[in-house]
């Protein structure tokens, strides 16, 4: 689906969201409320330049809102990434450090009161997802969104476990198989939007309301336990607290 169609469906006609290469940036209104839109597009392999474009945009929004009165604008992240760029130069320059910087900027925005929502369109893979999309207060997967660390074939090569065995186990267990629904069961995705909906603007408004009324602390482990997809994380952390 082209960016024009996706953003029109999400933000209605007249929005100011644009794609430049793999970078998404702009302003829009959701149910009459102004929001800032920042993200990556077209299965971006996130390199340092793209990561710094995202962090720079977050800092701009925070700086703009610090100068005006009123509540800080919500930030809507668009996540569409095949992961981090794999290159020697990026490693040398410390791509991990760029990602950590992005995470700090997200954290600053959160503590300055900007509600943060992620929409996964297309793919959300590994490091490109960790850097900012996964850190939102609420994560929605658009229809067809894929969430994963690695596909099963590559995983089979690395772990030396036969592919058919992994495929079989993937049906029972959400812990290693790709899929937005698995991440929902584990508490890291909050909404799975169904195919064919013409109601994306309403869903988006609802998701934003949910962010505004929810706690800003990290409740993913408890949610994952409730949904039965990640039963140990909350329990083990509690054991460490009680020891």
């Amino acid at each position: 689906m082209s960016d024009v169609i996706v953003f029109d469906r999400l933000f209605g006609a007249g929005h100011g969201v644009e794609v430049h290469g793999h970078f998404v940036r702009g302003r829009a209104e959701v149910a009459g409320r102004p929001v800032a839109v920042i993200g990556t597009w077209d299965s971006a392999a996130v390199d340092g330049d793209l990561a710094l474009a995202v962090s720079g945009a977050i800092l701009e929004v925070v700086a703009e809102d610090a100068k005006r009165t009123g509540t800080p604008r919500p930030i809507v992240f668009i996540a569409d990434t095949e992961g981090q760029e794999l290159s020697r130069r990026e490693e040398l320059l410390g791509l991990n450090g760029c990602f950590a910087h992005v995470a700090r900027c997200v954290d600053l925005a959160r503590r300055r009161g900007h509600p943060i929502l992620t929409l996964i369109h297309g793919r959300a893979v590994s490091g490109g997802f960790l850097a900012f999309g996964m850190l939102a207060d609420r994560v929605c997967a658009l229809p067809g969104a894929q969430v994963r660390v690695m596909d099963l074939r590559a995983m089979s090569r690395v772990t030396k476990i036969a592919l058919d065995r992994l495929e079989g186990l993937a049906k029972e267990s959400p812990v290693f198989a790709p899929g937005a629904d698995n991440y929902w069961r584990m508490g890291a995705v909050d909404e799975l939007w169904p195919e064919g909906g013409a109601d994306w603007d309403e869903r988006l408004a609802g998701a934003l309301d949910a962010v505004l009324s929810a706690s800003r602390t990290d409740g993913r482990a408890a949610v994952g336990a409730e949904r039965g997809g990640r039963t140990l994380a909350a329990q083990v952390a509690a054991t460490v607290l009680a020891a």
């Binding site: 791509l95 700090r104 054991t239």
Partner: protein
């Protein structure tokens, strides 16, 4: 008396902890007797560990209370699974309650454990948020990187969130490991078997020269201990500056300037040359002291 030299690189997680903290001061939370193993590894018939590859607990260092987590690189490459990650996150949450003088993360990890990849990825995201929360509470988080697996994948990101990053040259810090890059992009992009190249791109001296590691020490547990004590003495107050927009704007500009300055650079030698090290070729062989002395004269210039 701790007189015998302990190679941090070769030591196990438990040996590192013992060498780092004050004698008999360590109390482990969730010790191996609790057998908190990974059901996901068991399901794939992979070996399990009674501590799931990470030791967490409290101790004192030079009399100061710390909480610490030490990853065991020899167990599944120190990779983060559900239980392993939850132990680290629980420790960080405990720091919010117990208010230690610092949290030490002895990182030795390739990142997410693929056998339970989704759980590992989420756990790392939770650790990232927990580190930021601990820092916001005014408690410094100190990363130590000197093990055989280095700090890669999500743990490379976590490491760079820390207030201090103490490394040996042997320790490596990055995002994607050389083997992964070689597999996907070819040997021409990154020859993972060229060990000296790997260290010039990911090793402690390059990270220190770029300002990413805040301290470089020799591969010796006692040197890591001294460096931790120096951090505690400096009294880093946690990242209260993290809430400072201007600090992050300056960091943004610094990272952008670095990318411009080293736009064509693919080898640490060029960083050392550009930084003005008198003999760039010899940098990998320098002791930590000699390296630190040379760097001291150049540092402000290199980092921006």
């Amino acid at each position: 008396m701790k007189t015998k030299r302990v190679s941090y690189f070769e030591a196990s997680a438990r040996t590192r902890v013992a060498a780092l903290v004050d004698e008999a001061s360590f109390t482990e939370f969730c010790p191996p007797e609790l057998r908190l193993t990974s059901p996901h590894l068991a399901r794939l018939d992979a070996p399990v560990g009674f501590d799931d590859g990470v030791v967490v607990g409290r101790a004192t260092v030079d009399g100061r209370a710390v909480l610490l987590a030490a990853q065991e690189g020899k167990f599944n490459g120190g990779a983060v699974g559900e239980v392993h990650g939850a132990k680290i996150r629980g420790l960080l949450e405990r720091a919010l309650r117990d208010k230690p003088e610092a949290v030490l993360l002895l990182v030795d990890s390739g990142g997410v454990r693929l056998h339970e990849a989704n759980a590992g990825l989420i756990a790392i995201s939770e650790i990232m948020r927990a580190v930021l929360a601990v820092q916001a509470a005014g408690i410094p988080v100190i990363a130590l990187v000197g093990g055989s697996c280095g700090a890669f994948g999500g743990m490379g990101i976590v490491t760079r969130l820390c207030d201090e990053v103490l490394m040996s040259e042997e320790g490596r810090l990055g995002l994607s490991g050389p083997e992964v890059i070689e597999t996907v992009k070819g040997v021409g992009e990154f020859d993972s078997r060229d060990r000296s190249l790997v260290w010039r791109v990911t090793g402690g001296k390059l990270r220190r020269a770029l300002g990413e590691a805040t301290g470089l020490v020799d591969d010796d547990a006692a040197s890591f201990r001294e460096a931790v004590i120096a951090c505690l003495d400096r009294g880093i107050t946690g990242r209260d500056a993290l809430d400072d927009l201007e600090v992050l704007q300056a960091a943004q500009q610094g990272l952008q300037r670095r990318r411009e300055r080293f736009a064509e650079t693919r080898d640490g030698l060029e960083v050392w040359r550009s930084a003005g090290f008198p003999d760039p070729q010899a940098v990998p062989m320098l002791t930590a002291d000699a390296f630190n002395t040379q760097l001291a004269g150049l540092q402000a210039e290199v980092q921006s």
